[in-house]
Amino acid sequence: MSAPASSPPPARRHQRFSLLRILTLAGGTFTQLVRMKVFYFMALFAIAIIAASFAFADLQTDGQLKLLKDVSLASMSLFSMLFAIAGTALLIPRDIEDRTLYTILCKPVPRLEYLLGKLLGMVFLIFISLVLMNLLFSAVLYLKEQAVLSQLISVLEQRQFPSREALEANIADVQERMAGQGLTWSLQNGILAIFLKATVLTGVTLFVSTFASSTIFTIMTSLAIMVIGQAQSIARDVLMGPDASLVPRIIAGAVSLFFPDFKNFDITDAVIAGATVPAVVMGKMIGLTVVYLTIHLMAAYILFSDKEL
């Protein structure tokens, strides 16, 4: 006697918007980028910061720590921006070339989800890269800070001071100075700002790549937007200021309205100098990043939804 035939599982209703699909696409994008051996840059980064930590021992101790932070944060910023532009510019053309795009879009996957998945995959790659760089940087900075501190205290203890009080005052001063110049939470906020800036740049590059005819066009256009974005605040000041005449105001208006203000993410100089960043500032910066992403993603979707592939 044959077993009764089991009834087929009920067909799952197709969801118009699925977070799972987006995450699957993001995971695929991340794997695709990792296979391009992008993490080899870590070797260069390690060489840069280890060299910076040993170089120029002649500099005053504050100067040594500052140089290490300068080189490390500048490298993080540069690598993340290059990832954001070059990596994102490659995504859609590579999918077209590999025919992956057609395989994905012939299934009931909305184009918005495809774009979101690509964006998230890229952002995740930048995040992981920054976490790795940050771990290496934090370890080197901590070791350097401890070495400098013990060296300074032993020098102070060998010096002759008019009183024990003066020696203790000098040691307290050095300890506080080093605490401000070493590993701080503010530095982590600076690195978060680098990540947010790279995220906005990823959104911009994704938007450009939806209408670009070639990868090189996407890269050059995104680089130009990044450079203009660094000076957007000047245009905004002209636009909102009382003195400008009509023509400069129109030009400034166009720049202000169409380009993001990347200067708003440049807090690394202040954190390197030892400034503290309140949580509310970081909260607002994250909010601004979400606004930029939403605008660029919407514009990208409008163009991509109509694109003949």
Binding site: D266, A273, T294
Partner: protein, 306 residues
């Protein structure tokens, strides 16, 4: 690019435009927040382009201002080793313009003038010895002016007023040194770092040595003496404070005949005065030795130049 219909282009432009209009006030407010918390970079002066060169200027525009300032400082080491202090000052001036909120550059720019250049010019151009004190005093005055300029950008940093205080207390170098001025700068530094009690104590010690301010210093020194046992916790009771009390007593008694030391201190006063006298004599001997060495070096240089 041309496979997209013009209508979609218009839509996308509309989204960017409306999004831009919506985000513009947000961006503006956020910039103001960054300025309020002193996190935004100071505005760039376009004349920096000539001083920095094209590539450095682009790096500065690209948000790498701190790195460029560090590179300018490193580039400056050779000038320092060559004792080209005009170039050193120009480089540090550039650093302070690039990063006016970095204490290190203001401090070092002033230090280079008031210590390194000061010592260098001591032996430079000995054929005009009459000019030397004038040059050196100018260096000290410039250093103090630099620190005061730095305070405009870093009003909350205690280290700049503290550096001025030390220069105002340096009677060997600074012809305009004043104990009272020094005490006021220490006080200002202490107000910015109230938990650094030693800054407060330095304020009182210098006030005690300022002619005409003895009666102001006396109650402060007594208060410090009574703040607790010597060398304990937050106590301001220190051996230096005791010495100043004992030294100040005759001057205060001339104005306030009832003034007296606490009994326990009065018993130790002769020993404290003797130790103080010994310390002062040792300092005087050291200074005389240094002056003699300095004169020897100056004579040797003059001979070589002849």
């Amino acid at each position: 690019m041309f496979s997209i219909r013009p209508r979609k282009w218009l839509f996308a432009a509309g989204v960017l435009l409306l999004g831009g209009l919506a985000r513009l006030p947000l961006e503006h407010r956020f910039s103001a927040t960054l300025h309020e918390h002193r996190l935004a970079e100071e505005k760039l002066n376009l004349s920096l382009r000539d001083e920095l060169g094209q590539s450095f200027f682009i790096a500065v525009l690209g948000g790498f201002r701190s790195l460029v300032a560090s590179l300018v400082e490193i580039d400056n080491i050779q000038a320092w080793q060559d004792q080209n202090f005009a170039k050193v000052d120009a480089a540090y001036a550039l650093c302070t313009r690039l990063q006016p909120r970095v204490w290190h550059y203001w401090d070092w720019r002033a230090w280079m003038k008031t210590h390194n250049a000061y010592d260098h010019y001591k032996y430079e151009d000995m054929s005009r010895p009459g000019l030397q004190p004038w040059i050196r005093q100018n260096l000290i005055d410039d250093g103090i002016a630099i620190l005061k300029e730095g305070m405009k950008h870093l009003p909350d940093d205690f280290r700049l007023p503290r550096a001025i205080a030390w220069l105002m207390a340096d009677f060997e170098k600074n012809q305009h040194a004043s104990y009272y001025e020094a005490s006021q700068w220490f006080y200002r530094a202490w107000q910015l770092r109230p938990h650094y009690r030693h800054l407060y104590r330095f304020h009182v010690y210098h006030l005690a040595q300022a002619p005409g301010h003895e009666l102001e210093a006396w109650p402060l020194l007594l208060e410090m003496y009574h703040s607790g046992p010597i060398k304990s916790g937050n106590s301001d009771h220190t051996p230096s404070g005791e010495t100043h009390l004992v030294r100040l007593l005759p001057k205060v008694q001339a104005m306030l005949p009832d003034a007296a030391l606490p009994p326990e201190l009065a018993a130790r006063a002769p020993a404290i005065l003797a130790a103080d006298q010994e310390r002062r004599e040792a300092v005087e001997r050291r200074l005389e030795r240094e002056r003699a060495q300095e004169e020897e070096v100056q004579e040797a240089i003059l001979k070589m130049k002849r």
